[in-house]
Assembly symmetry: C2
Homo-oligomer: 438 residues x 2
């Protein structure tokens, strides 16, 4: 099928104007699901979705007849990864655990979207507990391929045009990688910039909320609602960033086809007038990868132990997930402390290099290559790991294709430089959109 993502900014503009009723638009969104879900499986099935949404849409139409009263996301249908608590919808987190065990108060970000006028179109499929055991979702660009994970359903839903915005989360590479595989924009803000309350934890010191849209402008519209202290007026893009390419063993983790595509992106940026500097970075990537894995395993053991999920339901966990928790169980408090200190060390090291080399933005492949074939494996998050580890804001924009499948250019900025990152991202999006497979 041809993936046709819809623009969040255009959808929101249209719904805030007087032109269409929310009931009408929501009905069409449900029609879209009837049409595409049998192939994509982005959403967790829900028996009375259409009726639930009709009621909510009708309430919005009644309550806000005057366009000037409407919220910035008035009537916009959004997908929500099924690790976020949503009032009125059960949370399964892609697991076999009873929903009562996983229940909790609505996630802060979901409430924020609702208060902005959005309607929850549905829960989207996640890998089990946002780790690696995949759900049924398929890549809208080629349904033989994985959409990536763990935010599989959210990425596929936006890519298939089922909704113009979907929430995801990233602990290693669960937003940036599926966004790239699905040919859309994915954003994971600075660690701590977005409230994480009401999201089933993987590893609290590494968990980030993120989201998917068709275009960077849409991601910025959502950022203004979801990020703490987002300024009313976002900065312009007039100050062109100096771009860094992180040379060394980190970059070499990409596939040769992925690296070729990435080098074409770098050439495109260079040709467009960007100053590009190649700088050695993350020479200790093996240690970083190992530390990330250790910290994640230990914190997942704590999180799933403290809620008594794993002690009570160990036999319902997929093998790989149980293994991670078992690996984390014996990790010592001292090791956890050291790993968190190392995480800050990585962040400070990257920032120092940016300062000394005058770099505003790192670019790198959003994944080792395009989406792998099959849906039993969501692909490798290794290109995303160090940036998540360091808690730096990351954005991926579509950057051409490899073997007919989309790849993304991952842009990473300084901590709390989310606003400028999204400002610069708009021009990157335009510049790199001209690329196609050579």
């Amino acid at each position: 099928m041809t993936a046709r993502p819809t623009s969040l900014t255009e959808t929101a503009r249209s719904l805030r104007s007087d032109r269409r009723s929310v009931v009408e638009h929501t009905g069409e969104a449900c029609d879209g699901l009837d049409d595409r879900e049998p192939e994509i499986h982005a959403f967790v099935p829900e028996s009375d979705r259409r009726e639930r949404l009709r009621e909510a849409a009708s309430a919005l139409d009644t309550q806000y007849p005057d366009p000037t009263d409407r919220g910035p996301l008035h009537g916009v249908p959004v997908g929500v990864k099924d690790i976020f608590q949503v009032e009125g919808l059960p949370t399964k987190a892609g697991s076999d655990l009873p929903t009562e065990a996983l229940a909790g108060p609505e996630a802060t970000v979901v409430t924020a979207l609702r208060e902005a006028g959005a309607l929850v179109l549905g829960k989207t499929h996640t890998t089990e507990f946002a780790y690696f055991e995949p759900g049924p979702t398929r890549n809208p660009h080629d349904t033989d391929n994985t959409p990536g994970g763990s935010s599989s359903g959210s990425a596929a839903a936006v890519a298939a045009g089922e909704c113009p915005l979907a929430l995801g989360s990233q602990t290693i590479g669960s937003v940036i990688r599926p966004a790239a595989f699905c040919g859309i924009v994915g954003f994971k803000p600075t660690y701590g910039r977005v409230p994480i309350e009401g999201v089933i934890p993987v590893s609290p010191s590494l968990d980030h909320v993120g989201w998917f849209t068709a275009e960077v402008a849409g991601t910025r519209l959502a950022a203004a609602i979801l990020c703490r202290n987002w300024p009313p007026k976002a900065p312009g893009t007039s100050d062109r960033p100096t771009v860094g390419v992180p040379e060394g063993p980190y970059l070499q983790q990409a596939s040769s086809a992925g690296l070729e595509a990435f080098e074409r992106s770098v050439e495109t940026l260079d040709a467009a007038g960007y100053e590009v500097r190649r700088v050695p970075l993350l020479e200790d990537i093996e240690a970083v990868n190992e530390r990330h894995e250790t910290l994640m395993a230990a914190e997942m053991a704590i999180a799933h132990g403290e809620r008594e999920w794993y002690p009570a339901y160990a036999d319902r966990y997929a093998e790989a997930t149980a293994e991670l928790i078992e690996d984390g169980w014996p990790v010592s408090a001292g090791t956890v402390g050291d790993a968190r200190a190392g995480r800050r060390g990585t962040r400070e090291g990257v920032v120092e290099t940016m300062d000394s080399e005058g770099i505003d933005l790192w670019v790198s492949p959003a994944a080792p290559g395009p989406a792998p074939e099959g849906i039993d494996d969501t692909g490798d998050p290794v290109m995303n790991l160090p940036w998540t580890h360091a808690g730096l804001p990351a954005l991926t924009v579509p950057a051409g294709t490899v073997d007919g499948l989309p790849v993304g250019c991952q842009c990473v900025a300084r901590p709390m430089d989310d606003e400028r990152l999204l400002g610069w991202g708009t021009d990157f999006e335009t510049t790199l959109a001209t690329e196609s497979e050579q």
Copy 2:
């Protein structure tokens, strides 16, 4: 010396009226420190305190000539335990670490007090990192005795009438115990009810912000500023609580003199018409004590490891503090998870008993007995531990004396029942104030 705490509500009322200038009042507060500090040592010395405060007071006088514009704590001098970050004042946390290593953004609650009009009179002495290694503070009721800890300076400052409000924190019994030893009111709200950001951590899942005042009404005034979602109109005290006495091994941890004084309080409540029920509770107190210690040690190892304080400065830690961290270092992630689950189990168990026995409020001795002699030991927090472990709101009100030293009655309510607890506390305060040593 005679301890003469000053009322927060009266001080605030006077400063909000037109009667006195903040400059004048602040000057008197500084005079009070000159007078009492040589004996009490509640405050961390500060070279230009008077000048700093004169400027801040003068700014308030200039900015708010109209009483109706003034905040609820306009010009009120407050003490702040030296584990809270305060803009413009260094944090030492009672330790020998360099202040640069401990620096951070201002604590959310300190900013909230400032926004309500309060002036930070100074940092108050804490035991080292809010554990057990004492500072120089003495008990205003008898300077041969400890004020308790870890919030030693804050309790002593309020008891000595140096300020009508002071912030403390409690991880085992660091608010309730010193408040009782110093003959004042201490309050530790429900776990999570008060923002902990900007406070040097002991053990994040056990750390609570709390505070000290002369009277329950003052504590309630502060609660409205410091607690999340405090309702504009606090509930009345017309609904008399059914009072529970937690019989069994927990209670037996008190000294015989402490228990005698407590039984006099219970008789007084009974005579005042309260329904008192004696119910077995916390039969597993030994396991609770052990679990608390394990969790605290592990989380302190993580906290002091992740910030690289202990790895870099181990030789500057007092022996007992270093021992706790060393004990916590090898504790496994699985044990941390189990301990946190056990903590929830204790809370649920206490609440179930309250439900089944119709109890609204537990009373117990705020400490095993009155303040021990000497200032090398801040006393035993064992009477406070299970309530902190369970995250339940706790209030202590003065309840007579033992050997001429004050003791407190510790009142504990259901989770998030802070409002009613403070409502009931006012009558308890009056009822128990009639007690004196038999």
